[in-house]
Amino acid sequence: MILSAIVFLPFVFGIILWLWPSERALRPMALGFSLVEFILSLSLLGRFDKAAVGLQMVEKHPWIERIGVSYFLGIDGLSIWLVLLTTFLVPLMILGAWNSIEHRVKGFLVSIFLLQVAMLGTFLAMDAILFYLFWELSLVPMYFLIGIWGGARRIYATVKFFIFTMAGSVLMLLAIIYMMFLTEQAHGVMSASLLDFYRLDIPFVGGSMMSLQTLLFFAFALAFAIKVPVFPFHTWLPDAHVEAPTSGSVILAGVMLKMGTYGFLRWTLPLFPEAVEYWSWLFLLVGTIGIIYGAVIAMVQPDIKKLVAYSSVSHMGYVLIGLFAMNEAGLTGALYQMLNHGISTSALFFMVGMIYDRTHSREIAKYGGLAEVLPLFSIAFFIFTLSSIAVPMTNGFVGEFLILLGTFQAFPVFAYFALSGVVLGAVYMLWMYKKVFFGEKGPLVADEHHPLTDLSYREMAVLAPLVILVFYMGLLPGHFFSYSKASLDHLVKNKDRYELTYHDPDKTRSDR
């Protein structure tokens, strides 16, 4: 029951907040609720068996029996950290948006909790239709978050976001339905369970687009590639990020993009082994292009938030090449980089939001000399800058190092080019840091009438956990790896014939 509780508790919280009569108590209540959810999800770590390969804490109930769709949740080393990342970021988002969201607070908080349900469900669903359901459901609250509380061009951005993502995912729906019929042919019973999908042997013909496995592979890959987003499908991302409110950007960068990379990891790689091997050059290519392109575009951005958004495109390129390197270092690095990006980019978006709250501008040219005025802010920003450019001892280093190591082992050519992204990343981040925090005071900073104030206690409370994690994940990555190692090893070893089973059914039964 624990997984269902974790997925649907935010829904209950959302309903309570929606029905709550007074406006005043909403924010503290929401913060309390999200902390309860976080503590509950921490209990997963205790229950989790690190050595086990199979799915744990499984819940499976028939739902649409006629076509083998079930309510099927499970967790393993691939998803546990993403679940925790989601529950960890939501309280910070609520705290971060404490003063910046002024109107329609109730709707905002309800949207956030609904989004949390959809994201957790996506990471935990082990049934294809259930997965698709949560996947699509996540669009709706995000659509409202950007559209209602966003900036000037919010409507364009949110509609673009919705249509892009939906266009990708409907093809995935067709592929899912087709695979359900394949399970019927192969096993006699129609099933939408991911575990049954893994057992399929889908015919593959190299060199032909019309081969079955290739088509299914691309149908899934397109949906995930748009979500990640992979170059050239990334154009919705800068728009969505720039127009979204701070907490919207945080959840978008922190968790929603990971839904795409998690999709690659959980669905595409194990389901279509031959197609992945045959087409990996394509994804390594677009991943590498994404790294360099994102970095180069980030360099010329006049807007801090847009710069961070393009840095996301670049960072997600690393995750992609790590995934398609398909070896242990690459996959471990990719999974770690997902978490890193969730921490450091979220933190950068938080900080951009904080400075925007003070000056109502994000234009780099208008800043300068901020370090003198806001020392604490500058230190925190510097830490996250270092994390973002992957300096050793920070979390970013571990992830990028492993990804590049894995890529060098498998596809050295792409690794050479990807490596240049590390340098470019340092260039645009440090260049931006220099312009904003050092040098002559810009018009916004020097404004005598509006003196800027340093971090408040609330803002420190938002940033402190993130700072701690940057160093903790940078210095002691072993703690994090130990949970996901068994699952990743299993994936790498059996990449041609991946199967997954339940782990410890006795314990599962007693859980129910």
């Binding site: 006629r66 459901l137 409507i155 949110t158 067709l174």
Partner: protein
């Protein structure tokens, strides 16, 4: 040919009950010296008639219809699962439309009893249509339904558009009926029978060999294509839906369409499309064209009722995908159940949307545009959230009933290997997402321009009840999509 007996009467007893109930409001009015009784009383009588007929239909089905699908009057009417499912749907939608009519400025007034009478007879025509297994009875059912609808539209309180709509609908509907009859005559000529059973048995062989049969079949389908507004026979739909009083639009867009599709399901039976590439191609292009025309035209609409009209055209296209899948399958229950589930889902969400539009109609001339919804969420969050849920369901966002309807239809198409048809379907649902999102954008993300906004009218209790029931169905039918589908499938097996 067997003589007519008590068993026949029993089978059609729901029809008789509905007809007798429809007489009550007009009779009372005549007895009172042509003075309207209170609208609530008329409404209660109408609702009572609908619910009574529902209960009777269910009872008769459970008592005698469950296993052997008995027929009445020498094999012209049948009581099977399809009759039950779509019959119940049209009765309930009729009741819902009555609730809306009670509150709507263009329908209440001193002709309410006649309107209730006509509505119930339109639904009676629908029941006949859905249970008919003889082409001539199909025609009679269709005409009973259509004639009642023409008159219902014409007696609207609104002076100009509704008259135009009624006349347009009448002329084009009459043309469609003529084409249908012409086609029936060819079928009769080649088969020597008007029975649908004979048609279903003979189609697989005749459709490939006899050109005249194919010609007749296509004419019959074209006749129905008019009724369910498949492109290129859809041109009347937007004008009629816009001009008709909004509750009537709801009835036409949902129940009338559902029964026409049920009749198509009876004509395009299992295996009938396998032998004839021509017919299959014709229907596929009809489906694809309908989806594209409906969705692309809807992108440019401003009036909500016209959006409903074009969206209903597009949904006809999706439904055709299910019909084609049923037509090429050996065993049509899965695809047919998918179509029925879709019809139910489509009916509740469209009727719900129509209900919300009714909330804004101050007088009979009100045109509710997308722009006039601006800022509704801050003025009246309840109606904005209801409309949002209906729109998201129409767009096919899970876990609503709209998603599972599409899921069943597309999965039956993929199961029959019609992958490119399913591909067209999903691509169209992406286009559709744009115009379904547009009202949401206005309601939640824009501020109203002065003098250009709508207000929710107070004291529309009946409308609110109807919306509430639709809302419940949209969410509940989505979550329990599995059991509902199972019930439908076991009923029509």
């Amino acid at each position: 040919m067997s003589p007519i007996g008590l068993a026949d009467i029993l089978i059609v007893s729901p029809f008789i009950a509905l007809f007798l109930a429809s007489l009550i409001p007009v009779t009372v009015k005549v007895l009172r010296g042509n003075v309207e009784q209170p609208a609530v009383a008329t409404l209660t009588q109408g609702l009572g008639g609908f619910l009574g007929a529902c209960i009777l239909l269910l009872t008769v089905f459970v008592l005698i219809g469950k296993r052997d699908s008995p027929t009445a009057f020498a094999d012209v009417l049948v009581l099977d699962g399809l009759t039950l499912c779509v019959g119940l749907l049209s009765l309930l939608v009729g009741a819902g439309a009555l609730l809306l009519m009670h509150d709507n400025p263009s329908t209440f007034g001193n002709q309410f009893s006649e309107l209730v009478f006509l509505t119930m007879n339109a639904v009676l025509g629908m029941l006949v249509l859905v249970s008919a297994v003889d082409l001539l009875i199909v025609y009679i059912g269709l005409e009973t339904m259509s004639l009642s609808l023409y008159m219902m539209i014409a007696i609207s309180n609104e002076g100009k558009l509704s008259k135009e709509a009624a006349l347009k609908y009448f002329v084009l509907g009459g043309l469609a009926s003529a084409i249908l009859l012409y086609g029936i005559s060819f079928l009769f000529g080649t088969m020597g029978s008007t029975s649908l059973r004979a048609l279903v048995e003979m189609t697989p062989q005749l459709v490939g060999t006899s050109k005249i049969f194919l010609f007749g079949m296509i004419l019959v389908l074209v006749g129905f294509a008019f009724k369910v507004s498949l492109a290129p026979f859809h041109a009347w739909t937007p004008d009629v839906y816009e001009g008709a009083p909004t509750p009537h639009t709801g009835l036409m867009a949902t129940a009338a369409k559902a029964v026409a599709f049920a009749a198509i399901l009876r004509i395009v039976a299992a295996n009938s499309l396998v032998e004839s590439e021509n017919l299959l191609d014709f229907l596929q292009w009809l489906a694809v064209g309908t989806m594209l025309v409906g969705n692309l035209a809807a992108l440019m609409q401003r009036s909500l009722k016209r959006i409903v009209a074009y969206s209903s055209i597009a949904h006809s296209g999706y439904l055709m995908v299910g019909i084609i899948a049923a037509g090429v399958s050996d065993q049509m229950t899965y695809a047919a159940s998918g179509v029925i589930y879709y019809l139910i889902g489509y009916s509740v969400m469209t009727l719900g949307m129509i209900g919300v539009i009714c909330l804004f109609e101050r007088n009979e001339d009100t045109v509710v545009t997308v722009e006039s919804l601006a800022g509704l969420a801050s003025r009246n969050p309840g109606s904005a959230i209801c409309l949002t849920i209906f729109l998201l369901s129409l767009a096919g966002i899970p876990p609503s009933v709209g998603f599972f309807g599409k899921f069943y239809i597309f999965s039956s198409a993929i199961g029959e290997g019609l992958i490119w048809l399913a591909l067209w379907g999903v691509l169209n649902s992406v286009i559709a997402a744009y115009y379904y999102l547009k009202p949401i954008v206005y309601m939640f993300m824009k501020e109203p321009e002065p003098g250009y906004d709508v207000a929710v009218l107070p004291s529309l209790t009946a409308t609110r009840v109807a919306i509430g029931i639709c809302l419940f169905c949209v969410i509940a039918l989505g979550i329990i999509a599995g059991p509902v589908f199972k019930v439908i499938e076991s009923a029509i097996l």
